[in-house]
Symmetry: D2
Subunit: 362 residues, 4 copies
């Protein structure tokens, strides 16, 4: 990942918008055959709820970081600045939209239904009117969201403020699920991972999401100079459009990009990994084989050796650094000439604490 | 300077402010005998005029960067968000004050009188009521500021949007000066340097200031990971307080810290530089002298050799990097045993394009 | 940790050493009562064995990173450059010593006894003559080291090249231990952690060490801009001297600093942690307590909640970032007014995978 | 430019070269029509003269930084390590060649003829045998270089150690030039710029070069995390090969990349700049025109307004940041509808202190 810097020389200039500059980062990850990997964040706040920046800033941040799509999801029920920041629930979307068009960032309309546990918080996105979600009873808000054909996902199930010691699935969530009012879950929210949510998604055919839930300027929470990135969702879409994202959501074609981890269904994570690296044999003799692994992504892959023929000697743990090539020697003992080099990719999860197993045939 | 990172893990947490963290940078520069070097920025915007962040963010940024004092100076006459962000001209100060107290950042009340050239823009700080500055005629606004005992300084005189090709001093500025309504000038504003203002300050006994004029989140304009800093004013104060700053302003004890430059009156810049470095002789023989220069500040000093005895051979240009020690050899030719090692410190200016001359006696 | 940069403007200058500059980093960690925390690395290579830099570079790197002491430990039995780099086993120490004196870096003479498993590789440090360690049989080399009153430690026990699948303790190690020829073990070597070695040290009263085992220029392996550091040993010494280090070694007063972890005996790690943070109560009411934790070190501390009164609600996981202050709110439920806030500091280990437990009394 | 990190996990591994990893940076600059921009450094030292790293390190550094070609140019006459590092003048090339082949870095054989002023130091590259350059008289060394069909360039003419106060051209240089023994000059060497050399090259049809003259590990002198790069030569070649470089040298198709500057003949620098940016008109009305400038290179371009129709109001100074897009508004006064937007690109030099003039037609 290139060092992110979005410099906007506004000093002096804002009065008449005389000039403006913007750097664009590129998140290096592969597309799959016939699917584009869109980098997305569907949980974001501004001064119009309890965030601390103007809506346009969210678009500029997204553009600079190389995101394709965002949703600004103000709390319906929590607006601590409302004495100063008036206007209705649709306003921050409206303000951001012009900037989004200018930058080519897909802006999806959404809101956060913000209730005590259960059911806690949910985002409803792809909605038409946020104001209608402002209801007394939570179920009425969900009903309205469903009526607007929203895609609804449960936010940060493991948030200790609402689930102090254990991450529970409540009867309310079963009800929402049955009524078609829950379509996905935030597996990752900011620095919080809720591993239980991975298996809930797999069991209930729900879409996995990762979001920033950013309130501050993004640079405050994410140190780009150190290679950090916001928690986000990779949407494996047939096209780069709002419709493309919706279709991929329905089909659950997402990966969660959280810190150094990728989380998702094996059917998508395995080909994603295979497209991320190139493996070739450099040389071979009786004693050893030298293979080369090229990693052209911004993601580090962490290998941990699993069961194998002990005559095949190779690393125990190995880190494939981003954007680099690695030459790895495998020793051949006891006269063998090849075999299965088995390992887990420990930072790619296809279930709760379940790494992706991988084999290189030698 | 340590790498600045002010991480505030607000995701999830804002609703009930469950936890909060903040890193504090330290800007390494010397104090003078009996004077404390306060790092200050008196030109800042928020969503309450045409800025893009909430007022509290400005305090957190200031704390994190190691600033001692700031002034939030919303435009009186330009409030593009006013449809959404209501409230009066005093409001952003009031919002920021609680956070400022919490962080120990000195918050000085101010506003920007925002008029066409001439006289252009000025900041009035140390005021009591911003609302009263909202007048039809600019002179009435200045009068009101003076009435409130404001310290008034002319902002960004060289801004091409108001002075397209030449930086002019207009009759209006003479009038303001005569009437005691101009006490300082912004020599540096964001990335803009107005070198003419240096001599105007020297000639008219005005205080030199440097400001960020920040509208975006500060990290958007300043790349701390690359060692950048906002444009700011070093106030050489007798005490760390609002009163201390005011007294230093009256006495014109300021230095402007702009990019890699320091600008100020020689009577303050010279001792500041002398306190920044330590020079010692390491060894000496007939052929050469080895001296050591220790730089314990975050500022790089750039030396450029000036007239000297040619039998004394030393660098032509030399950069004293921040926080480092340098061993420099001076060759003695033609039987000399010492002499004057003369150079300019080219990034320290005591006038418009006038570097500080310096001599090391050998 | 300040960003490390050791710029030595040698271009052009080496011929006559006309000038030279060096930045010094400071590793912020506490001293204990009457004990100084020395930052040390006792496993380093240069071109005189299979390393790739000149010995003086090792001293400059150490100085720049803020190390107090190093040992250059060339392989006795492996010198792939010996066709080009001649001279005996003592030579790299001799070359480095002058630079070490100049920089005030303590240079301890050592060598690496480099044998197949068992017993594998060991460093013998505090020796007088490296050449005498060049013996046919490994036991003779260890005997000679002991004769020279060496401190001997087993290097990288978990190195898969010598222990392909399991980290074993061999009879040879028991023999060395019994004969007084093993005084410590490398728990961490470069990127390799050998967790089994922690318990071996605890059981056998051996000193724990962490080392870089650096062969390349240090910047090649360690990305200082990202806050990385080399694997090293904190020696808790009564004085900053070679003798001080030796005395601390005998008393096993060391901590291993590996990636984001500290590993050591609880009797030293607990007070080290207590000196690293300051805990204070900010405010308190019936519903909650607000505490402040200040971390003045360069080390991040990772808290993980353990068994506690469920009426005391606080974080599940919390990261105390380096050089920052954290305000953390604890909720009081069911009428309680205080209690024990229990957590593990998961990146501080007092045994193999055994985090330091900690309690804050509220 | 991506953040450079060349991590080579040699700890433990060097003994049997079990694995090895390398990151590759890409220097983003344009190719010209039918010419490839090769990034090259033809002035480098190792332990085989007065450098401080092993020759293979120089290849790895070059690969990691994204260089295409290097020359290791040990001093013939200055070998301070020769007591320890034996072997002849050809040896460091031979050692580096295998690694160069492995990495696809073009390694051109060369040596530095290292004499007092005049004529000072010169590099002879594309030679066959370095040993033959070891002559008593400097002219014999140059003759031998010429006999080997070397490309010879004068190094660091402005080095104060040999030209303490003024950069002079000596009769010896005229003689070398007349005899066909000087084909280029180092305009930039490490941190040293010799601006006089630019005009000497233009007048005498000599090739301009930029070199690192690196002695230390490259990371010691160049802070990649801050976006720095080594001084280098861009060779505009018909093919990526040793022959391609030689042909471009003969035709003087080079640009010097020094700090934030590019220096070269206008016939190459102008199209290079034109290929670096894309200019388009975004919108236009009676009062103003909005243009967009995209900079897809790693180089910042600095504009300074020059003579123009004062009815056309635009920036005075403007910095086009690397890898970014800039929207710039030009105001139309007095009823004009367009005109010439004139500026210098102040960091692109086509002569000594002579910036490239540029016009955008509106």
């Amino acid at each position: 990942m290139t060092n992110i810097k979005f410099f906007i020389t506004t000093s002096l200039l804002t009065l008449s918008a005389l000039s403006y500059s913007q750097e664009r980062n590129n998140i290096n990850v592969p597309d799959l055959d016939s699917l584009i990997t869109l980098k997305c964040d569907f949980h974001i706040h501004t001064v119009f709820s309890d965030g601390l920046v103007w809506p346009t800033v969210r678009v500029q941040e997204a553009y600079s970081e190389g995101l394709d799509a965002i949703s600004i999801t103000e709390h319906i029920e929590y607006r601590p600045h409302k004495k100063d920041v008036v206007s209705d629930h649709n306003r921050s979307f409206d303000i951001a939209q012009k900037t989004a068009d200018e930058y080519g960032v897909i802006l999806i309309k959404g809101s956060e239904i913000t209730r005590p546990m259960a059911p806690g918080h949910s985002n409803a996105i792809f909605i038409k009117d946020s104001n209608s979600l402002d209801k007394k009873k939570y179920m009425d808000a969900y009903k309205e969201a469903k009526k607007q054909n929203a895609f609804i996902f449960w936010n940060h199930p493991g948030w200790y403020s609402q689930q102090p010691d254990t991450t529970l699935w409540w009867p309310e969530h079963s009800e929402l699920l049955e009524k078609g009012m829950m379509h996905g879950i935030e597996v990752a929210n900011g620095v919080l991972l809720t591993p239980e949510a991975i298996d809930w998604c797999l069991e209930n055919k729900l879409t996995m999401l990762g979001s920033s839930d950013i309130h501050q300027p993004i640079n405050t929470d994410v140190d780009f100079a150190k290679g950090e990135h916001r928690s986000m969702t990779f949407v494996l879409a047939k096209e780069r459009s709002e419709q493309g994202i919706r279709e991929a959501f329905e089909a659950r074609r997402t990966l969660v990009y959280y810190q150094d981890m990728l989380i998702g269904e094996e059917q998508y994570l395995r080909p994603f990994f295979e497209k991320s690296i190139e493996i070739s044999e450099v040389s071979r003799d009786e004693k050893s084989i030298l293979i080369r692994i090229e990693n052209k992504t911004d993601i580090e892959f962490k290998f941990n050796k699993t069961d194998h023929d002990v005559s095949l000697e190779y690393f125990r743990d190995y880190h494939i650094k981003p954007n680099s090539r690695h030459d790895i020697r495998i020793r051949l003992k006891n006269g063998i000439t090849g075999g299965d080099m088995n390992f887990d990719v420990t930072n790619l999860w296809i279930g709760n604490n379940k790494p992706l197993p991988f084999t290189i045939k030698l």
